[in-house]
């Protein structure tokens, strides 16, 4: 009966109900869509960062993070690699790399970057360079003189495939070394900064060039299920590796340790979302209270009559609250569906932030954001609105019980 009464009362003032319903729907949808957007952004940030030659766990010389000089390298890593592989859960990927600060020169441009020597076959599924290049090819073993540069870098140096570039860097003996490479492939990543920061050559070529034998500067580990959430315990695996590698000069860190800003942001994220819900709700709450008060004052005599007929104040509160509940339930379900549709159909191919790309890159945000809709966000947004919404409805409902039959029935 309450529900029927509430339903009919809602449609008494069709326009007002539709307006407040629209406000509720816009509020909740934007809560959820924004949440999905933010979550997608963060997820993108995390996977960008991990793919950005970080990996889930990285092992390097303990001095290398602070001073990435070639002296701080891992000497003859073959045994270590076997050791590490044996310690990891099955399905883990282990890659070795060597990196050095270098300068890339053409006849018109000189660009400082990080030159990374890689084994392209092993990088697949571990870092972005394992993906097929945007142009050209990844080098096989036959092409020792090939270099792969980023799309943005290629544009900056106004270069083309096959062009010669000269790489200058410091060798293991401290002298400057120059070597010519030909641009063999072009990689594209989410972040322009990454495209400018790195260039890739064969691991073996680079080892020869630097004069370091088989030495490397880092071992990157990708644990099974590359989703930012490996099923094994990241911290425990890292600690286990650190404790068990035979060379005590080495340092094992996981991505949460390597990217502390993103990690702590991730930890606070649910809290941020809740605050965001509260802010949106606050804006909505004023509209809600106002509308309910209007609806209640308008029906003053009706409430007076009902009290005269013997309705207890509690029932009157119930009556008003069920109207609000109906309105909110309605709003919540429509907006959840609307948000779902928005995210899955309109933004399924991602949101292109190309216009803001430069600003966004500061935080390592992708050029294209894929909104991520989680049930936590939908439930949280709806709960906030329903619970707090009902709470704000208490005031108008209490007002409704204060209308005395004597006074209200006298108004004719």
């Amino acid at each position: 009966m309450y529900i029927i009464l509430a339903w009919r009362n809602l449609w008494r003032n069709r326009r007002r109900t539709l307006i407040i319903l629209t406000a509720v729907i816009i509020g909740i949808s934007s809560m959820i869509v924004m949440a999905a957007f933010s979550r997608g952004t963060v997820q993108g940030m995390v996977s960008n960062s991990i793919n950005n030659l970080v990996g889930h766990i990285k092992i390097e010389h303990q001095q290398h993070p602070a001073d990435p000089a070639i002296e701080h390298r891992i000497i003859t890593p073959e045994k270590l690699l076997r050791q590490i592989t044996a310690m990891l859960p099955p399905g883990s990927r282990v890659v070795q790399r060597i990196r050095a600060d270098a300068m890339l020169s053409t006849s018109r441009e000189h660009v400082g970057l990080v030159l990374v020597g890689i084994d392209p076959d092993l990088e697949q599924g571990v870092s972005f360079i394992g993906r097929p290049p945007a142009q050209g090819t990844l080098f096989g073993n036959q092409n020792q003189g090939g270099i792969i540069v980023g799309r943005s870098l290629l544009k900056k140096i106004n270069g083309k495939l096959g062009q010669k570039v000269v790489i200058t860097c410091q060798g293991a003996d401290g002298t400057n070394i120059a070597k010519a490479f030909r641009i063999q492939g072009v990689f594209a990543t989410e972040l322009e900064s990454t495209e400018r920061a790195f260039a890739f050559v064969q691991l073996h070529t680079m080892q020869q060039m630097l004069g370091v034998g088989n030495d490397i500067t880092e071992i990157a580990i990708q644990l099974p299920d590359n989703n930012g959430n490996p099923p094994v315990d990241l911290a425990a695996t890292t600690a286990f590796l650190q404790a068990n590698v035979s060379d005590k000069q080495l340092l094992a860190r996981n991505w949460r340790q390597m990217l502390p800003a993103i990690s702590s942001y991730l930890e606070m994220f649910d809290g941020f979302m809740l605050i965001w819900y509260l802010i949106v709700f606050l804006a909505m709450a004023f509209g809600l209270v106002n509308t309910m008060l209007m609806a209640v004052y308008e029906r003053m005599r009706e409430f007076g009559l009902l009290q005269a007929l013997g309705m207890r104040p509690g029932c009157i509160i119930k009556m008003v609250m069920s109207e609000l509940l109906l309105l909110l339930t309605f709003g919540c379900s429509i907006s959840s569906v609307a948000a779902f549709i928005t995210v899955h159909f309109f933004f399924s191919s991602g949101i292109d932030l190309a216009i803001f790309a430069e600003g966004a890159e500061f935080w390592g945000i992708s050029r294209i954001i894929y909104p991520l809709l989680t049930s936590w966000d939908i439930i949280a947004a709806n709960s906030v609105v329903l619970l707090l919404g009902m709470f704000t409805g208490l005031y108008p409902a209490l007002r409704a019980t204060k209308f005395s039959p004597v006074q209200t029935m006298r108004h004719v």
């Binding site: 009966m1 009464l5 009919r8 009362n9 008494r12 005599r301 009706e302 009559l305 009902l306 009290q307 005269a308 007929l309 013997g310 309705m311 207890r312 104040p313 509690g314 029932c315 005395s404 039959p405 004597v406 029935m409 004719v412």
Partner: protein
């Protein structure tokens, strides 16, 4: 047998600093089965007296016993229950919930009394037939004429068999023919079902129908005539 006993009741309204004695030391008794009109000019206290008897207003002095219960001893919620169980109201206008149909308006009281739905439907059907509006059961108040609305109000007032029905100017907004029909209906309810009616009115026709007319003047009983 007395349904309502009013003993030395006064009711004072305050308007700013001036006091206004709506009722001044009124005592009277209304017995079961009466068809009584409280008459008098506006401001004489007749509506106030009706509200006090109906438990929607409280006396400043004196006691009111309804069906042997002292109203002043009841809490707000208990008063509400008393009104629900023992009193039927017919107001001058705006008697009905606009979003409910005629039948639902009548049924609503029974619902509040938690009467099972089968009995409810039966009672509603019967009473709507009694007031001659069986065919209007599913219409909203806005679709009914003033007279029809008041008949529904009467149906609602009597459907739960209350001890007393209080009607405040029930005919004031009706033309004389319709008013007369409404009074006929109530008189019939009174004779057929022994429903006790008390009116507050200044309508001559109502006084003609009443078997007892209590005239109030300046908050006091000026006259009490039984026909």
């Amino acid at each position: 047998m007395a349904i309502v006993t009013v003993n030395n009741v006064s009711r004072i309204y305050h308007q700013g600093k001036t006091e206004f004695k709506a009722l001044d030391d009124v005592s009277l008794t209304i017995n079961k089965g009466e068809f009584t009109a409280l008459a008098g000019p506006s401001g004489s206290g007749k509506t106030t007296l009706l509200n006090l008897i109906g438990g929607i207003d409280t006396a400043d002095k004196g006691t009111i016993l309804l069906d042997g219960q002292d109203l002043s001893s009841l809490k707000k919620g208990e008063l509400a229950d008393l009104r629900l169980q023992d009193i039927g109201f017919v107001f001058q206008s705006f008697n009905l919930i606009p979003v409910l149909t005629a039948a639902e308006n009548v049924e609503y009281i029974l619902r509040l009394q938690k009467i099972p739905s089968s009995i409810r439907r039966q009672k509603v059907k019967a009473i709507l037939a009694d007031v001659g509006l069986a065919d209007k059961a599913d219409q909203r108040p806005s679709e009914l004429s003033g007279g029809q609305q008041q008949r529904i109000a009467v149906a609602r007032a009597v459907v739960a068999s209350p001890a007393i029905v209080l009607a405040d100017e029930p005919t004031a907004n009706l033309d004389s023919v319709t008013g007369q029909k409404l009074l006929d209906l109530m008189q019939q309810m009174n004779t057929d079902k022994q429903v006790t009616f008390v009116f507050a009115t200044h309508d001559k026709m109502v006084m003609d129908y009443a078997r007892r007319v209590i005239t109030l003047k300046d908050g006091r009983i000026a006259d009490d005539i039984r026909k």
